[in-house]
């Protein structure tokens, strides 16, 4: 429709239609008559009768009071009619819609629609908004254009993602495979075009004749599927029976559901429970898994019962009953029942299975007995003392407090020495006892005092073990102390050892002679070598020294930042003050524990292998969030040495393959759009039988040969 503003514009040139229209409307009748007269004069030559008849008819119709036909032609009533435009008469006067409307209403020729529109316009009072300025319109246009283009471009999204994810892309896309094609492949793309072919296929389809030679023809299959009359009858009877049963059951259930009696339901529930228990027992035998599940359910219900206050006689009802219970027998019974229910539900379910479980459960049951027993009084002096506050063993602690650091340091050494000594002792098989065996007694006494006496045999055994451990600990400590006391003794011991060794060797020589009939020639030489080897140093102590040195080197050093002479007198013989030393000596953070801390006879270098670092990955590559992920991803080697040929090829497959010399054309939209649509549902025109195999082949081939069809289409478009 034309906006009023624009209307005004067009009319502002001075076309005064209103007056003209008014004139027109007034003279309408006359004009028509004139016209008719003219036309009549023109047609005089034609048959008079006809004309007369027509005229008569017209006259009659005009007399009928109905409005005459609308004018097909509109004439302008103006004084001067220009060749190009309607000239303006009475410029400056505005045209109102009402002016237009009045005439339109009267005119029969105007369409109802325009009339309505005009009326609406008249009714609307508000002024129209200004048109948007250029920037804003452009912005809106841009927005719309953006939406459009995103919609257009986003249809590429899928294929892009697909290609990014693809293990391998072969360019140019849509290559036709070389070599002979499979028959199915060829057939799938083929259409019955000639009438003869179409006819043949129609025939084949109508007979459901197989094209691909399946095991059974569809007709045969159908005949196999078909049943005999008797079978059908039996089946029908069965169906009828089941239907009837179903309806009975439904009716019964409905009826039962409508019963409102609580007692009835109670009884029903009880019955069900009994039944269930019976079934459960059977289930345990037949279907243990199912039984286990049921058991779990029961366990759950038990838990719920234990959690809730239901059946605990704590509710409103129960309280009221409790009042009544004194006098009312039934109330008492009800309460009893409630409690019984609670007891039943909270009772632990015993699974009748292996003997061990039973025994365990018995044990469990027996455990709570001690709760009732009087507590064993540990300390006769202080009967309130239930738990020991400290478990310190006085003797050991005093030793450790003397030299805690040295004990730690020399622990390993002691272990080592102990090990060797033990072995030597075994070899010697001497009668000599360990020196601290005398100390064993007081130690054990102390332990005995501390430990609560328990009647069980096993526990006693455990206790003994503990004692032994303690004793061994004591032994090591004792040895440590002895070691520190005298180095001379050690040397003596070593000397002894040497003697022992020699003796051993000599012994073994005899053994050797027993074994070998021929005497070994250079044994004397060997013995001398051995003696020479053992004559010098003690291997073990050297090693321990070495280890300790290494450990010391690895330990964090104290940084001394004291500046002598600052803030006080400095010089020869003057030490910085104690305060200063304390303040400016900084201990560095301790290093992580050594790898060889539990291996007394091993020194593992803590130095980092820096040479390999340059070859290692030092920063995590993109999608990985931690090192474990990345390391797991690269844990499988891809080389030929570790893998089979096929796997190597697959692992080292290039991401992109381009055909040599082939032009890689940009992707065409039709290609992938077709791909998605056809692979989703649409199949080719011809169905070659119902054989699955054929279908499979077709799908595969259709997926492969999308490209060919796409290219054909492209060609068509070009032409």
């Amino acid at each position: 429709m034309v906006k009023p503003s624009s209307l005004q514009k067009t009319l502002s040139k001075g076309v005064k239609l209103t007056s003209a229209m008014a004139v027109e409307s007034g003279d309408e009748d006359d004009l028509s008559i004139n016209e008719q007269a003219i036309s009549a004069s023109e047609d005089e030559e034609g048959s008079d009768d006809e004309r007369k008849h027509k005229k008569l008819l017209e006259a009659i119709s005009s007399m009928g009071g109905r409005k005459r036909k609308k004018q097909s032609e509109r004439s302008e009533a103006s004084v001067q009619v220009s060749e190009f435009f309607v000239n303006a008469e009475g410029t400056g006067e505005k045209v109102n819609i009402s002016d237009l409307l009045g005439t339109v209403e009267k005119t029969s020729g105007a369409a109802n629609k325009t009339k309505k529109q005009l009326r609406n316009l008249q009714n609307s009072k508000g002024t129209l908004a200004l048109p948007l300025n250029k920037q804003q319109t452009e912005k809106i246009q841009r927005g719309i254009a953006y939406e459009k283009t995103t919609k257009e471009v986003s249809c590429w999204q899928n294929i892009i993602v697909q290609n990014q994810k693809a293990e391998q892309i072969v360019f140019p896309l849509n290559q036709e495979s070389l070599g002979p094609k499979q028959v199915e492949q060829v057939v799938a793309g083929w259409k019955a075009q000639t009438p003869l072919e179409q006819e043949i296929f129609r025939l084949l389809h109508s007979n459901s004749h197989p094209v691909n030679d399946p095991v059974l023809t569809p007709v045969e299959e159908a005949s196999l599927k078909a049943m005999s009359l008797e079978e059908a009858k039996i089946r029908r009877a069965e169906l009828q029976k089941t239907r009837a049963l179903q309806s009975y059951y439904e009716a019964k259930a409905k009826r039962e559901k409508n019963i409102k009696s609580k007692k009835y339901h109670k009884i029903q529930k009880k019955g069900k429970r009994k039944e269930f228990l019976k079934q459960f027992e059977e289930m345990v035998k037949t279907n243990p898994e199912g039984a286990l599940e049921e058991l779990k359910k029961m366990e759950l219900s038990r838990m719920e019962e234990r959690m809730s206050l239901k059946h605990q006689n704590s509710g409103k009802w129960a309280k009221s009953k409790a009042i009544m219970a004194k006098y009312d027998d039934s109330a008492r019974k009800a309460m009893q029942e409630q409690l019984q229910m609670n007891k039943d539900l909270t009772q632990k379910i015993v699974v009748p299975s292996d003997d061990e479980h039973e025994s365990n459960e018995e044990g469990l049951e027996t455990v709570p007995d001690f709760v009732n027993d009087p507590e064993p009084i540990i300390d006769p002096v202080n009967p309130w003392m239930r738990v020991q506050l400290t478990h310190e063993e006085p003797e050991v602690s005093c030793v450790t407090t003397d030299e805690p650091q040295t004990a730690e340091q020399e622990n390993e050494e002691e272990e080592l020495i102990g090990e060797f000594e033990r072995k030597r002792k075994l070899r010697q098989a001497d009668e000599e006892d360990l020196i601290p065996t005398e100390e064993q007694k007081p130690e054990s006494e102390v332990v005995e005092e501390d430990v609560v006496e328990v009647s069980d045999k096993e526990e006693e055994e455990e206790e003994e073990d503990e004692e032994e451990e303690d004793v061994s600990e004591f032994n090591t400590l004792f040895r440590l102390m002895r070691n520190e006391k005298t180095l001379e003794e050690d040397e003596e011991g070593l000397l002894n050892e040497g003697q022992i060794r020699v003796r051993n060797i000599e012994d073994l020589e005899i053994l050797d002679e027993d074994v070998d009939p021929q005497p070994i020639v250079d044994h004397g030489e060997q013995i001398s070598i051995i003696k020479e080897a053992f004559a010098g140093d003690d291997v073990i102590s050297d090693f321990i020294k070495d280890k300790r040195k290494q450990e010391a080197a690895g330990k964090p050093k104290v940084v001394d930042l004291t500046l002598p002479g600052w803030g006080e007198w400095g010089g020869v013989g003057l030490k910085p003050s104690r305060w200063k030393r304390k303040r400016f000596r900084i201990k560095m953070a301790s290093s992580p524990p050594r790898q060889d801390r539990k291996l007394p006879d091993t020194i593992i270098s803590e130095n980092r292998n820096t040479s390999i670092a340059s070859h290692q990955v030092s920063q995590l590559p993109f999608p990985f969030q931690n090192t474990a992920q990345f390391e797991s991803c690269i844990r499988t080697p891809i080389g030929q040495t570790w893998n089979t040929q096929g796997v190597v090829k697959k692992m080292t497959k290039p991401k992109v393959i381009t055909k040599l010399g082939a032009i890689i054309a940009p992707m065409v939209k039709e290609d992938f759009i077709n791909k998605t649509t056809t692979s989703a549902g649409k199949g080719p025109a011809i169905m070659l039988g119902e054989n699955k195999r054929a279908n499979k082949g077709r799908e595969w081939s259709s997926a492969k040969h999308q490209g060919r069809r796409g290219s054909q289409k492209r060609k068509k478009q070009q032409t």
Binding site: F534, F543, I586, T602, N609, A613, S632, K650
Partner: protein
């Protein structure tokens, strides 16, 4: 002797195959299907779809003939199942599960890599079928120890080719005065290299018994070693290290390597590691002829040496009973283990790098697990073992005086009880070496060289891409080029050969430190504070000093502040603790009832 079953499956000899089958045919995959049967239905479901096409052909023919057999299925449909044990053999690390809430890209990366590694594992397990040969063994009669069976009996019972492997080369007859002791034996595939103490060196083709070269270097020979191929060998002579070709032509005299006592060749790194009498461990890259590293071990004379084939770490035995492990990248030993109370006489490491066997002057034989550096077991050999050698299949041969004893199942937790085989020779034994892929042990002793058949010593299945004992000269050349291309750099030698596949966890500081070490200066170091010169007497010496003092020791100040703060906190805590203790001590027994 007729009941003796001696069985030397030598995948090398095709003629022996029929003989092999008499006793026990090699196992095929369908024989091991008992334990995989349970898995079969699941697999069938998966593979049924794939193999529908295959199976329909068979089924159709069946159905056509008799309509009843419609339900019959192919009993071997789908891929052959892989036994779990076999799969486990090729497992590399644990499977990584995709963490919950992982991003899409990460998920895809993990899933694809897991799928690939699984495929690799499966394929490797499947191809394991192609290694059907079994190692042989010696089985005596009832109440007959296998160590009483003599070599002659074995040679008689075995086939001709195997029997012919027992021979004695009496060098003493040939060079009576010059050669007294066969000091070293080294075998490279089918080539034998023998060096005499008095300078006699000989190369022999092991099988055809062709003498490739024989010479006298007129000097004490300490050790001989083949290099990567049989075309070259290194001889450690009295003063320098020499390299000869297979015809005895002197190629190099490496004067940087003096007084070499022992040598080891690391085949994948092309490194010749030498241990000298002066206590130096040196590495020579034979591919470029460069000295890679020279480490002063400070351990005295180094005459016991071995290599770990798993990680190319050199093991040295020392007179103080320790064994030290070395790599060319560190100036100090990676690990030092105290193994014996006397000097270490000999040591050897097994193929997988899991076990180390040592013998010392204390006449002990110890087996170590060198992954954990823990002794597994030790036994006492009456005469002590002067030479040790482990075969590819883990048979240990020990030379005790003039007897060679071969032990079975040494590499395990159970201690050794009695030898599997024993052989007496004339004179002291000086060298032992197993022939790879053969059941033969070469022994160098005072009277010459003797070979000994040890059934079950050699690996029956060889990897022709790696070491092919039957390669032609052309193949050898090609292999050489390939091996050189795939040469492993010496920087990668370390205790853990899988270190390369791990992310370098060192912090930035550590990395920076190394960078500084490499550069020789710190690229990120701050310049020293230089106070600006100011006018109007404000740049006097005192003022400058004052300004300098403002910024002096700034980093240290921070640290000090931090440590002081920490210390005060610690003290506070301790105080609180002691207070608590005091309170506890003051508490009366009845305090427990107070709330």
């Amino acid at each position: 002797m007729d009941s003796l079953i001696c069985y030397l499956p030598n995948k090398v000899n095709i003629y022996e195959f029929d003989w092999l089958f008499l006793t026990q045919p090699p196992k095929r995959y369908w024989e091991e299907t008992e334990n995989t049967d349970q898995r079969r239905p699941e697999e069938e479901q998966g593979t049924a779809v794939q193999n529908q096409n295959k199976s329909t052909v068979k089924e159709r023919s069946l159905k056509r003939k008799n309509g009843e057999s419609l339900e019959k299925k192919d009993p071997f449909s789908g891929e052959a199942p892989i036994p779990h044990k076999q799969l486990q053999k090729f497992q590399r690390g644990e499977k990584y599960k995709v963490p919950a809430g992982a991003r899409q890209r990460l998920k895809e990366a993990i899933i694809s890599s897991e799928a690939m590694s699984e495929l690799a594992q499966k394929q490797a397990a499947r191809y394991d079928l192609l290694l059907p040969e079994d190692a042989g063994f010696l089985e005596g009669d009832e109440d007959e120890d296998t160590n009483t069976i003599s070599q002659d009996d074995i040679a008689d019972a075995a086939d001709i080719t195997s029997g012919s492997k027992v021979y004695v080369i009496a060098f003493s007859l040939y060079l009576l005065k010059k050669l007294q002791i066969q000091k070293n034996v080294f075998v490279c595939n089918r080539h034998l290299l023998v060096g005499g103490k008095k300078g006699h060196v000989a190369c022999i083709d092991w099988q055809s018994k062709d003498l490739m070269c024989e010479m006298n270097v007129m000097e004490t020979v300490n050790d001989v070693k083949w290099l990567h191929t049989e075309a070259m060998f290194a001889v450690a002579q009295k003063r320098w290290l020499y390299i000869y070709d297979s015809k005895g032509l002197e190629l190099h005299c490496v004067k940087k390597f003096n007084d070499v006592l022992r040598m080891q060749f690391l085949p994948y790194h092309f490194l010749l590691a030498t241990a000298s009498a002066t206590g130096f461990l040196q590495y020579l890259d034979v591919s470029v002829g460069k000295e890679i590293a020279a480490i002063c071990t400070k351990m005295g004379r180094l005459d016991v040496m071995s290599q770990n084939p798993h990680n190319a770490v050199i093991h040295l035995g020392h007179p103080n009973g320790t064994i030290s492990l070395w790599s060319p990248n560190q100036k100090e030993p990676l690990v030092k283990i105290l193994c014996h109370r006397g000097a270490v006489r000999s040591l050897t490491v097994d193929k997988t790098g899991t076990y180390m066997v040592t013998s010392g002057l204390d006449r002990k034989l110890k087996v170590y697990d060198i992954r954990a550096f823990k002794p597994l077991h030790s036994c006492f050999l009456p005469a002590g073992a002067s030479c040790l050698s482990l075969s590819q299949r883990g048979l240990l041969s020990a030379a005790t005086g003039d007897i060679v004893q071969v032990y079975q199942n040494v590499l395990g937790s159970s201690p050794v009880s009695k030898p599997y085989m024993a052989h007496r020779l004339q004179g002291q034994i000086w060298g032992l070496a197993y022939c790879p892929f053969e059941d033969v042990l070469g022994i160098g002793h005072g009277e010459g060289f003797t070979s000994m058949i040890v059934p079950g010593a050699g690996e029956p299945n060889f990897d022709a891409l790696d070491t092919n004992p039957f390669r032609s000269s052309k193949q050898r050349q090609e292999w050489e080029v390939k091996a050189l291309l795939e040469k492993v750099q010496p920087e990668l030698i370390g205790l853990d050969p899988g270190q390369l596949s791990k992310v370098d966890q060192a912090s930035f500081e550590q990395r920076h430190k190394e960078h500084v070490e490499a550069l020789g200066f710190d690229p990120l170091a701050k310049d020293k504070f230089k106070p600006k010169t100011k006018k109007k007497g404000r740049s006097s010496a005192g003022a400058i000093e004052k300004r300098k003092r403002k910024v002096a020791h700034e980093d240290q100040r921070d640290k000090i502040r931090q440590t002081v703060q920490e210390r005060t906190e610690r003290d506070k805590e301790q105080k609180e603790k002691s207070n608590e203790k005091k309170n506890l001590g003051n508490k009366s027994t009845l305090d427990r009832f107070r709330k």
